[in-house]
């Protein structure tokens, strides 16, 4: 059990040194936060030229052309959503499986070390995921996975093109691997928070272990698990290096997962060095769009997980 948070209050007098310390610490805590949010404002100012020039049309503009100075964000918003969607489709079922194993099935002595190893996936730097994606995952996907897609699903618009491996599908698979630690560990926490009384009730009614997990754990914890997935989505949306290195970098919209694309973050990473003037401003506006999308997604995820955790009785745990 954790110690409850400090509830000490001081009705008596406090010394000057005490007050100085408290306000000093507070000032430092607040000043960084104010600085950071002030910088968001400064970023908005840097993006002004592009915001004035392209207006709301920036969000639906399909061109990115430095020569004609026409800039639109749509291909990149599209690329970000598509790759993140692939990541969620592949990563979430895997993560839930991992969470179920770690929370419900694993023997206690395996649980802790195995959780740690899964979380190590989050410690690997993103640029190394990119390097590995380029030289290990890409050939594998190009030779073994994509020809299969083309021959069976090639008639759909989603799988048209050549099996190059440098495309939205590969980027999505890498993102799926990268969100697993986040989604799995938060889902595991929510499943662990399900009171044992729920499991016992299901078991006493004659449910098998599988049914218990499905009825008592998964459905009880579903809003928390949903929040975990949204949190993973937030991570996938903002991921930069691994995507930049594997997506193939093409500034156009194409529905096929086998075509190269570009996400908001990979566009910034690719063009930062040479961008100037209105293009730089447009890049910063892309960053602003990414920031707002990630912020909304994270707030939503916190709301979901937070609401679930609040609903769980704190004392309902072990017997």
């Amino acid at each position: 059990m954790r110690a409850p948070r400090s509830r000490l209050t001081f009705s008596g007098r406090t010394s000057t040194a005490d007050r100085l310390f408290e306000y000093g610490v507070l000032a430092i805590a607040l000043s960084t936060l104010i600085l950071v949010w002030g910088l968001v404002l400064e970023m908005t100012i840097d993006a002004q030229p592009a915001i004035y020039r392209f207006g709301p049309g920036f969000l639906v503009g399909a061109q990115w052309n430095p020569n004609t100075e026409m800039f639109g964000a749509l291909p990149f918003i599209f690329g970000t959503l598509l790759t993140s969607g692939i990541a969620i489709l592949i990563g979430v079922p895997l993560s839930i499986g991992i969470a179920v194993y770690l929370s419900e099935l694993a023997p206690p002595w395996v649980r802790e070390p195995l959780s740690f190893v899964v979380e190590l996936l989050a410690a690997v730097p993103s640029v190394i995921y990119g390097l590995w994606g380029m030289y290990a995952l890409r050939p594998f996907i190009a030779h073994s996975v994509e020809p299969f897609f083309i021959s069976f699903l090639g008639w759909t618009p989603l799988f048209q093109g050549n099996a190059t491996g440098l495309d939205k599908f590969t980027a999505g698979v890498i993102l799926a691997i990268m969100i697993i630690p986040t989604v799995a560990s938060v889902s595991k926490e929510t499943m662990r928070a399900v009171p044992d009384s729920q499991r016992e009730a299901a078991l006493s009614l004659g449910a098998t272990r599988y049914e218990t997990t499905r009825i008592a754990v998964l459905s009880y914890a579903r809003s928390g698990i949903f929040g975990a997935c949204i949190l993973g989505l937030g991570r996938a949306l903002g991921e930069t290096m691994a995507v930049t290195m594997t997506i193939g970098n093409a500034n156009r919209i194409s529905w096929s997962m086998l075509d190269p694309g570009q996400t908001m973050s990979s566009l910034i990473a690719n063009n930062w060095g040479e961008a100037q003037g209105i293009q730089l401003s447009a890049l910063i506006e892309i960053g602003l769009v990414l920031f707002i999308v990630a912020l909304v997604v994270n707030l939503f995820a916190r709301l979901m997980v937070g609401r679930f955790m609040k609903a769980v009785p704190m004392t309902g745990g072990g017997l």
Binding site: R2, A3, R5, S6, R7, L8, F10, T14, S15, A17, L20, E22, V25, I28, A29, L30, T32, L35, V36, L39, E42, M43, L94, I96, I98, L102, L105, E119, L120, L121, A123, V124, P125, S126, V127, Y129, L131, W132, M134, A136, I177, I180, E189, A193, Y210, T213, L231, G234, G238, T240, M241, S265, I268, A269, I284, G287, L290, A294, V305, G306
Partner: protein
């Protein structure tokens, strides 16, 4: 039958997720190891892939970036954590924690843009070691603040009460009793945040940029291990690609040894205490 099938499927998910981890480690070690030599670790990058080239300047750059970022970020994160844990049982505390948690989830490239806005646009520094350190510090602050807060809140209240009952002023109680008792948790958080910023690439691309020379100047662009990988990963030259793999090996060794070392030496000493973010703690009963 269904029972066993489901258990097997869950176990398969775990195994499937571990394949990339093992594969990445295996490949980085196998491909990167031939590059490693004394010269490789101590010579600078010229960028042509000639003989005797190394990643010495990138290693130095990464160390400097992490050092300055820690110098800026660690005290601020620590103070924030102390405030939230010891004085933050009120509206201001909740607000600080809330915005800190949001900051922890900013995409790292956005943090690069923020640091760019500050250092390059407002302070007119240009791409520099300083800009990169600021970006990494912004990433570090919420991590250190969160782990410090968790660690300090696990210090039993009886210690606070005991110190106060002895007439110790509150600020001394915080520094000498609470911080000392929560020490291993605080150190764990600090080390994990160092591991995290060592591998950050995107913010550095936007702020510290890259240099193929030796540089320790705060106002000049600086090389780093992650950017060495990014610059060379697609190179047609075998030697430059080899450099990328060598840099990846050095980087992953640093990052993983911090992670595993913390796990083995610090977390075990604290017994069952868990310093990594616990969602129950972070999100429950907060209003």
């Amino acid at each position: 039958m269904k029972n066993q099938l489901a258990s097997f499927a869950a176990l398969a998910c775990v195994v499937l997720a571990l394949v990339p981890l093992v594969y990445i480690l295996f490949m980085v070690v196998k491909t990167g190891a031939p590059a490693i030599s004394w010269e490789f670790l101590t010579n600078r990058t010229v960028g042509t892939g000639g003989p005797g080239e190394g990643i010495g300047n990138a290693i130095l750059g990464t160390l400097l970036l992490v050092f300055y970022a820690t110098l800026i970020g660690l005290p601020i994160g620590l103070m924030t954590g102390i405030y939230v844990s010891e004085y933050g049982n009120n509206k201001i505390g909740y607000t600080v924690r809330f915005f800190n948690d949001l900051l922890a989830n900013f995409p790292s490239i956005v943090i690069g843009l923020l640091a760019y806005a500050l250092v390059v646009n407002l302070l007119h520094f240009g791409f520099s070691l300083f800009a990169g350190s600021v970006a990494l510090a912004i990433i570090m602050i919420p991590i250190v603040a969160n782990t410090t807060e968790e660690a300090l809140r696990m210090v039993p209240n009886s210690l606070r009460e005991g110190a106060l009952a002895l007439g110790v002023p509150r600020w001394r109680t915080v520094l000498k009793v609470i911080l000392v008792n929560g020490k291993s948790g605080v150190v764990t958080g600090a080390l994990l945040s160092v591991a995290r910023i060592t591998g950050e690439t995107a913010p550095l691309l936007l702020t510290a940029f890259y240099s193929s020379y030796w540089s320790a100047s705060l106002t000049q662009p600086v090389a780093s291990l992650p950017l060495t990988i990014f610059r060379n990963y697609n190179s047609p030259s075998k030697e430059l690609l080899q450099q990328a793999w060598g840099a990846a090996l050095v980087l992953i060794l640093i990052v993983l040894s911090i992670n595993i070392g913390v796990r083995l030496f610090l977390r075990n000493r604290t017994g069952k205490r868990k310093v990594v973010k616990s969602w129950k703690q972070r999100l429950s009963l907060r209003t």
